[in-house]
């Protein structure tokens, strides 16, 4: 009995020391990690919507976020302001690719009713095949597309050879974002 208690005590002690040192390191690094994440998002938003001056996160009524569809979910919406006016939206979404979720930003101009920018934030697609979804050759196809376009592989979008599923995931994300915009009333 005494032995069991002693053993448990030592194990507990080691855990307590470990927990305290981790709490300390976490405290030292947390602010920096959060700052980097914010900066990264800010930079990506700017790339998707270059003429924007300000991005404001919004919570739409009716169609709550995250908005789930098959192999797709819409995570966040930012309203884009320029010269005091609302000029469009940026959507953050994930779409299921070949190696897991692909996280991306899609910028839509509400004036011209077109897609102005798209940026892949995270993905685990096969290097050399699916990873080409970030290449300008593929992603460039989406720029300046009208929202009335079908956004379908084989019609208006050409898939990457050998990476149909990854290409489909990006295309699906655009299609779903457009359909969300059609469904939602006051954004």
């Amino acid at each position: 009995m005494k032995k069991i208690l002693q053993t448990a005590l030592i194990l507990g002690l080691v855990c307590v020391v470990a927990a305290f040192s981790l709490a300390l390191v976490n405290q030292l690094t947390q602010a920096e990690i959060e700052r980097r994440a914010r900066e990264e998002l800010e930079l990506a938003l700017k790339q998707v919507f270059p003429q924007a001056e300000e991005f404001k996160e919004v919570e739409p009524e009716g169609l709550n976020l995250p908005w789930e569809r098959e192999n797709f979910s819409l995570l966040q919406i930012f309203v884009v302001q320029a010269a005091g006016e609302r000029v469009g939206f940026v959507f953050e979404a994930t779409s299921t690719g070949y190696g897991g979720p692909i996280r991306l930003l899609i910028g839509i101009s509400s004036r011209e009713n077109e897609l102005v920018g798209i940026q892949i934030l995270d993905h685990q697609e096969t290097p050399g095949l699916g990873s080409n979804i970030t290449s300008p050759d593929f992603i460039g196809q989406f720029y300046s597309k009208s929202l009335t376009d079908p956004f379908t592989i084989g019609e208006d979008i050409e898939a990457i050879a050998g990476a149909t599923i990854s290409s489909q995931a990006v295309t699906r994300a655009c299609r779903e974002v457009v359909s969300y915009l059609e469904e939602v009333e006051n954004l």
Binding site: K3, V14, A18, N26, T29, R36
Partner: protein, 198 residues
């Protein structure tokens, strides 16, 4: 002094974790695509290895043998989490490139193996030297693998193009099987070399 050197050298040649013991290969396969990642992974593994070996060796006399494995794991995962957090804060691009493989250092059997087989039975000085040798041995080999894979797979070294522009990238080298081929060749070379020297 000569004794310490032989313990250090043991990790690099005699019991090299990748080429001789063949442990901890999972992260090697995943990470060794670019030399930059290899160096960072090597540094991270060496840090975790040396720190956890030091602590394990320091407390070896009062760790009850029934709970030694959980205690080792707590120590190793603490140091791994420290590395992970520090990298996320100060080296975000590297941290993103290596993704889940930094947290996975916890279950790298190389570190656990050295804690159990060496650090828990030897004084602190020797344990540090052994861990350093293992860490350096790991770093050298993973970097040598990364060199070949980056060169053939991307035509670059440290992201600087070295081949003419029309070089056709060897895709298999970028995928995990590429690492197996390279490791195999290195093991063959090491065996040949060490047999001849005997």
């Amino acid at each position: 002094m000569k004794n310490l050197w032989s313990y250090f050298k043991n990790g690099i040649i005699g019991e090299n974790p990748i080429l001789r013991l063949m442990i901890g290969l999972c992260s090697v396969l995943a990470v060794s695509v670019r030399v930059e990642n290899c160096l960072a992974m090597g540094a991270a593994v060496t840090f975790v290895m040396v720190s956890s070996s030091t602590v394990v060796s320091l407390i070896r006399n009062w760790v009850p043998s029934q709970v030694r494995i959980p205690i080792f794991i707590v120590i190793i995962s603490t140091f791994t989490t420290v590395v992970d957090l520090v990298m996320q804060a100060y080296l975000p691009s590297l941290s993103q490139a290596m993704g889940v493989f930094i947290p996975l250092i916890v279950v790298n059997c190389m570190i656990m193996g050295r804690a159990e087989a060496f650090a828990s039975r030897n004084p602190v000085g020797l344990s540090i030297v052994d861990a350093l040798g293992m860490g350096v041995g790991f770093t050298l080999v993973i970097t040598a693998i990364g060199l070949v894979r980056e060169l053939l797979g991307y035509g670059q070294i440290l992201s600087i193009p070295v081949f003419p522009e029309h070089y056709q990238n060897m895709m298999v080298m970028v995928l995990p099987p590429g690492a197996f081929f390279v490791i195999g060749v290195y093991i063959a070379l090491l065996n040949r070399f060490s047999r001849r020297s005997k």
